[in-house]
Assembly symmetry: C2
Homo-oligomer: 466 residues x 2
C-alpha cells in the first residue's frame, strides 16, 4: 500500500471510526451473540489472494461490530471506565505509523525519553512522592497492565528479599506475599508466575469499609517471621476493584519498613482521582511505598495499554530483569547515561506508548482531565444519594469516587434479577461482585460519554425494574 | 473531541503518517541525538490547560522525529525486520477507536473469536501441526512478544512438570530448563521470572552451523535426571537471533519425549518463512513440540505487538494461569463453551490485536505475503553471494533465509570499524553479534521498503569502506 493509497484508505478508516463514535449510543451495549456465532460468519480458510482495501474495510461492520461488547457506549458502566479519546486514538495511529521499537534507548531515543519525561509529569500532576521521579534512584515506566505492574514489582521485591540471589538461584521458598481479600486477582497471578505459589500468598482481613486491617497484617507478618519465613511484599490497594476500598497506606507502610517487606501500591482504577487536590487523601502514606501503579487507560482517557508504574529504587528491578546478550550491546547503554526500558518489563520489545499519554495531556491539560474526574465523581454521588434514600435499595459499600455498589433489600435473587434485566435491555451494562459474601451490583462511572441524562435514564430503569 | 473534530484531525494525522512514509527514506536511519537531548526540548512541567489538537499535531515533527531510530527506513537492516504495513496500521486505528477489552469472551466476543480463527488460519498458512488448532486440545493466542510466549510456555511446562502443583506450591527447585548458547535471552529472562533462576538454565552446545547438538542435550538431560533433577522445558530455536541457526527439532523433540520435558519452539524471526512451501523444512519435527511461537510483527508486515503462540494442550497453561475472582464471573465462561484469553497470558486486559493480522492477511493474501518473503530471501542470497566471492569478506555463518552475517577478513577491528562507518553514514543501520567469540556484522533483510537498489547501494558502500 503506497503512501498515497494509505492517505485515501486512512481517511476512510478515520471516517469509519468517527461514524462508530456517532452511532455507538444506538447500539446495544452488551454482546448480542452466542458462543461461536462470530466465527461461523468467517471464511473457514485463509485467503490465497489479497483483496482491495475497500473490501477489507467492509469487514468491521459485517463481521466485527455485531460481536462487540461496546466499551465506548455511554451505558457501559461495567468493570471499570475505559474511555478512549480522540487525541489518544490518534496518537496510537502515529505510533503505529512510526513502527518504533523502544526496547533500548538507542533503538528509539524519542520513545524512551518522552516516556521518562511524561512519567515525571504524572508524578507532578498526581502529587506523587518525589522519590518516584527519574532524577534520583527511582523512575517510571509504562507497563501494559496493572497485572504486569504487580508482577514486575514482585520480581524486584523477590530480588531484594533474597539478598539479590533470586535471579541466579530462583525463588527462595521462604518468601511470603501479603494482600487483602479485596486485592485484585493480579496479586495471586503474580505470586504464581514468580514461582512463589498461591500457598505463599497471605490473605489479610478487611474492616467494615473493606480496607486492609493493619492489625491483622501485623499478626501475619509476625507469625511468618517467627516461623522463619521472609516477608517479601505487601500489595496495598488504593481503590479495590470490588468497592474502591482504600487500604491505609501509612500503617501498612510502617509495618513493611519494620519487617523489610516491599510495599507495592495498586491504584489502577482510582489513582487518576489524584489529579484533583481534594482527592489526594487516597495517597496518604504513599511515600512509604517502594512501587506504585495507576492506569491512565482506565479513568484518564488514554487507550489501553497504558499502566503507569514507578519504583522508588530501580536497582532491584534492574538486577531482577536485566539480561544483556551480545546482539543488544551498544555504546549508549554502556555509557550508563541512558535508560533501557527492556530491563523494566517482561517483554523485550515495546511500542511507543508515551505518545498517547503525551497527546492526551497536551490536548486536555490537567484542568480538562480534572473536569472529567469531577464530573464522574458528581454523577456517582448523585446516583448513590438516590439509592441511599430509596427504601428498596441499600448501598453495599461506602460510595467512593466514581463507583457505586448497591443491592436490592429483598436479597440476592432480587438483586441478581435486577442486574440481569438491566443488562438485557441493551442500554446499560453493569457487572457484579460479592461483598461480605453478598451479591452486589457495581456501577462503574467514568466513561467520558456518560452524561447526567444517561444516569437519569439508568435511575428510571432501576426504579421501574426494582 | 467530538466525532466531527475527530474526523478532521484524523485526516490530518493520516496525512502526517503518509508524509512520514514518503520522507523516511530521506531521513538518517540511526539516531542523531545524544542522551538527554530529546528531553531537553520538552517543557519541564505538565500543561495546566489543554491546547488545540493542531498544536499537538505539530509535536511529532518538532520533538519526536529528530529523536527517532527510523525502523521503517529502507536502510534499516538492524536487529530484525519490523515493517509495518498500511492495512496493519489502519487495523490498529480501528482497534484503538473501538477501545475493546478482550480479557473475557463476554467482554468482546468478536475480539476473542476473530483471534482464535485467525490463529487457526495461520496454522493452515504455515502448515503447522494440526494439534495446534483450536478444535482439539490445543489452540493459539496472540502474545505481545516472543519473550512473553517463552515465559508463558515455561509457566505451562513448570505446571506440568511439577504434577500441577506449582500454581499452589511454587517453583519446584528440582526443575531445569535447557536452551542452546545461541537461544534468545528471553529464555534466561523467563527462567528468572518463573523463579527457577539462571543457575537452572542449562546451556547446550552447538555445531558448526550454530544449531543445538542433540548429543550434548542428551548428556545434560541424563546427568540432571541422575542427580534427581527434573527436566522441565527445552527451548529450541528455529532461526536464532544471531545467525538464524535452526535447532534440529526432531531429535530434540524425541529427547524431550523420552525425558518428559516440554518442548517450546521459538521461531520468532524465521517462522514467517513457512508461508512458502520451499522453506517448510525449518519446521521438520515440529509435531513433537508442546508449544510454538513466531512473530508476525517481525517479517509478516504486522505491527508490533503480535507474537503468535500455540500450545498443543492448553490445559497446563490454564492450570498455571487461571484465577477467577468474583467480579469476572459470567455465564459464558461458566458454560465452558468459550475461550477466555486472560488465562493464556500474563496481563488481564488485552487489546483487539487480531484485527491487524486479519487486515494484513485479507489485503495481501497468502500469495502477497509469500512474494514479500521470497523477495527478502532473494536479496539476502544476492548479498551473501557478493560477500562470499570477495576476498576481503567472509560469511560468518551459513547464509539462511533473510539474514547475512559476515566479517572483514582483517579481523575484529576492521569489522567493527566497517560497521561503525556504515552506520555513521546515516543511510543504513546494521547491528552486530558474536559468533564463536568473533565480532560479526548482521544484515537483517525483510523490511518491505528495502529494494534491490538499496542492497546495491549497501554493497557499494561496503566495497568502498572495506
Amino acid at each position: 500500500m503506497s503512501p498515497e493509497e494509505f492517505r485515501r484508505h486512512g481517511h476512510a478508516v478515520v471516517d469509519w471510526v468517527a461514524g462508530y463514535m456517532e452511532r455507538v449510543r444506538a447500539l446495544p451495549v452488551g454482546p448480542q451473540v452466542a458462543p461461536g456465532e462470530v466465527r461461523a460468519r468467517l471464511p473457514a480458510h485463509p485467503p490465497e489472494y489479497g483483496e482491495p482495501f475497500e473490501a477489507v474495510l467492509a469487514d468491521p461492520d459485517a463481521l466485527v461490530v455485531p460481536g462487540l461488547t461496546n466499551w465506548q457506549h455511554p451505558g457501559f458502566l461495567a468493570y471499570f471506565p475505559a474511555s478512549v479519546s480522540g487525541p489518544s486514538i490518534l496518537a496510537e495511529l502515529v505510533s503505529a505509523g512510526l513502527g518504533e521499537q523502544g526496547m533500548l534507548w538507542s533503538t528509539s531515543p524519542a520513545c524512551t525519553e518522552l516516556e521518562t519525561h511524561v512519567l515525571d509529569w504524572l508524578v507532578e500532576l498526581l502529587a506523587l512522592p518525589d522519590r518516584f521521579r527519574s532524577g534520583g534512584a527511582g523512575g517510571g515506566v509504562i507497563q501494559d497492565s496493572a497485572s504486569s505492574s504487580t508482577l514486575v514489582a514482585l520480581l524486584a521485591a523477590r530480588e531484594r528479599a533474597s539478598g539479590f540471589r533470586a535471579a541466579a538461584e530462583g525463588a527462595d521458598p521462604r518468601l511470603v506475599v501479603y494482600a487483602s481479600d479485596q486485592a485484585h486477582s493480579a496479586a495471586e497471578k503474580a505470586a504464581r508466575i514468580a514461582g512463589l505459589g498461591t500457598d505463599r500468598l497471605r490473605t489479610v482481613g478487611v474492616d467494615d469499609a473493606f480496607a486492609m486491617r493493619p492489625g491483622h497484617l501485623a499478626e501475619l507478618l509476625a507469625a511468618d517471621r517467627a516461623a522463619g519465613r521472609v516477608p517479601c511484599m505487601v500489595v496495598a490497594t488504593t481503590g479495590t476493584t470490588s468497592s474502591l476500598a482504600m487500604d491505609p497506606l501509612r500503617p501498612v507502610g510502617e509495618l513493611c519498613r519494620e519487617h523489610g517487606a516491599w510495599l507495592h501500591v495498586d491504584a489502577a482504577m482510582a489513582g487518576t482521582a489524584a489529579l484533583c487536590p481534594e482527592h489526594r487523601w487516597i495517597h496518604d502514606g504513599l511515600e512509604l511505598a517502594d512501587s506504585y501503579c495507576f492506569n491512565p487507560h482506565k479513568w484518564m482517557l488514554v487507550n489501553f495499554d497504558c499502566s503507569a508504574f514507578w519504583v522508588a529504587d530501580r536497582s532491584s528491578l534492574l538486577r531482577a530483569l536485566s539480561v544483556l546478550p551480545e546482539f543488544l550491546r551498544n555504546r549508549a547503554s554502556e555509557s550508563g547515561e541512558v535508560v533501557d526500558y527492556r530491563d523494566w518489563q517482561v517483554p523485550l520489545g515495546r511500542r511507543f506508548r508515551a505518545l498517547k499519554l503525551w497527546a492526551t495531556l497536551r490536548h486536555y491539560g490537567a484542568e480538562g482531565l480534572r473536569r472529567h474526574v469531577r464530573a464522574s465523581v458528581r454523577l456517582a454521588a448523585e446516583l448513590a444519594a438516590r439509592l441511599r434514600s430509596d427504601p428498596r435499595f441499600e448501598l453495599a459499600a461506602p460510595a467512593r469516587l466514581s463507583l457505586v455498589c448497591f443491592r436490592h433489600r429483598d436479597g440476592e435473587d432480587a438483586t441478581r434479577r435486577l442486574l440481569e434485566r438491566v443488562n438485557a435491555g441493551g442500554r446499560f451494562l453493569l457487572t457484579h461482585t460479592r461483598l461480605r459474601d453478598r451479591f452486589v451490583v457495581r456501577v462503574a462511572i467514568g466513561n467520558a460519554a456518560t452524561g447526567a441524562e444517561d444516569l437519569e435514564r439508568l435511575w428510571k430503569l432501576l426504579d421501574r425494574l426494582a
